[in-house]
């Protein structure tokens, strides 16, 4: 009888323990975007430079990197130089767009004057773009193929090397795939 109770107890408890131990190595803040493989939400957002609103549609035919960021976000500041560099070196093959999240345009202008800019910035005053893209926090970077499909999403700071790799993957449609 005791042996049976022990066996049944183990049969119930062991899978739970294995599940818990396996979950310890998972990052609880990492939630995969359900948008990967789906059409990127189209947007029309106010440009920071005061020009015409920027639409995703106007970039169709080029791969697009959409980076949600803010000046108050330390990881965003850390990856800014890498994004500026990547946008410059990828030329016209890949378009970069910075979507300003929960920030003041005066702050953003001052930041860009100081740190440089090489790609258009748009404002998302009521967060509708962030909601449509399911942004949990900044920085989040979406990689959109030339035919408008979100193929990858990265959360957190991107290093120059990682960004270069991801942009190369994006610009090479045949070998493209989420990593």
């Amino acid at each position: 009888m005791n042996r049976r109770v022990l066996l049944v107890g183990l049969a119930v408890a062991l899978p739970l323990v294995v599940l818990l131990v396996a979950s310890l190595s998972r990052d609880p803040t990492r939630i995969d975007s359900p948008l990967i493989g789906r059409a990127a939400p189209a947007f029309r957002l106010i440009s920071l430079d005061g020009g015409d609103p920027l639409t995703l549609q106007s970039l169709r035919g080029r791969a697009v990197v959409v980076n949600f960021w803010a000046t108050w976000c330390v990881p965003c500041v850390a990856e800014h130089a890498a994004l500026v560099q990547a946008a410059q070196s990828s030329g016209t093959r890949v378009a970069f767009v910075g979507v300003v999240y929960q920030d003041q345009d005066s702050e953003v202008r001052a930041f860009l004057r100081q740190h440089g800019a090489s790609y258009p910035m748009v404002m998302d005053p009521d967060g509708r773009a962030a909601i449509a893209y399911g942004v949990y926090g900044v920085p989040e970077t979406f990689f959109i193929s030339a035919d408008g499909i979100i193929v990858n999403k990265q959360t957190g700071t991107l290093t120059a090397a990682r960004l270069e790799q991801l942009v190369a993957e994006l610009a090479r449609p045949a070998e493209r795939g989420p990593s």
């Binding site: 948008l35 189209a42 947007f43 549609q57 929960q102 926090g137």
Partner: protein
């Protein structure tokens, strides 16, 4: 035609951003706005205003998880993200989207995680069924246990205490105690040497 657009836009400007309105009324092939209609279809309910809008916004908002908080709904959080999401819920309800459409819109971009009450579909069904299954299993075990203990209480097991084999399991481990027990047995079974020998062996 142009006048119609102007009138419509002016009419609804307060209720919902014009960009989304254009798309919800006349879906264009050029998807330039962040219109929920692109995702969940045209509004299927009646546009809400005033106190109804306040109540419904709060109720539907309480079903959505604030993504930057720990287990709080968007109506319980002062986080800017939650404020934006409340605004989106309100705008959608004001434009006539139903609760289902609002929840589906958020689920489309954030995943099922955004719903505080997971929908009872697919793997989520396990969440709904597991407590009932656990209760049934626990009840069955308890019933079996009660039945067995009642059975043993009603009819006590018969044991022949004079048979040494039936008391063998009660043999003490302590050698001194065992010697003492043997002596007691020898005394009590004095008239039956075979039995004494048997108990000594045991």
């Amino acid at each position: 035609m142009r006048c119609h657009w102007l009138a419509l836009t002016l009419l609804c400007l307060g209720a919902y951003p014009a960009g989304a309105l254009e798309t919800s009324l006349a879906p264009s092939p050029a998807l330039d706005s962040l219109a929920p209609a692109d995702i969940v279809g045209a509004p299927r309910g009646t546009p809400l205003t005033g106190a109804d809008l306040d109540t419904e916004s709060w109720r539907v908002g309480s079903l959505l998880r604030c993504p930057v908080c720990q287990g709080a709904s968007i109506v319980d959080s002062p986080a800017p993200t939650a404020v934006d999401m409340r605004g989106q819920v309100r705008a959608m309800l004001a434009a006539g989207y139903t609760e289902r459409q609002v929840l589906a819109y958020f689920e489309h971009s954030f995943g099922a995680f955004v719903r505080l009450d997971p929908s009872a579909h697919g793997i989520n069904l396990a969440l709904w069924l597991a407590p009932a299954a656990a209760l049934a299993a626990g009840g069955a075990i308890l019933l079996a246990f009660l039945r067995r203990s009642r059975g043993s209480a009603g009819v006590p097991p018969r044991r022949d205490l004079t048979d040494a084999s039936s008391v063998a399991s009660a043999e003490p481990d302590d050698p001194r105690l065992k010697d003492y027990l043997d002596r007691v047995r020898a005394l009590t079974n004095r008239d039956d040497p075979a039995r004494v020998e048997k108990s000594r062996k045991a």
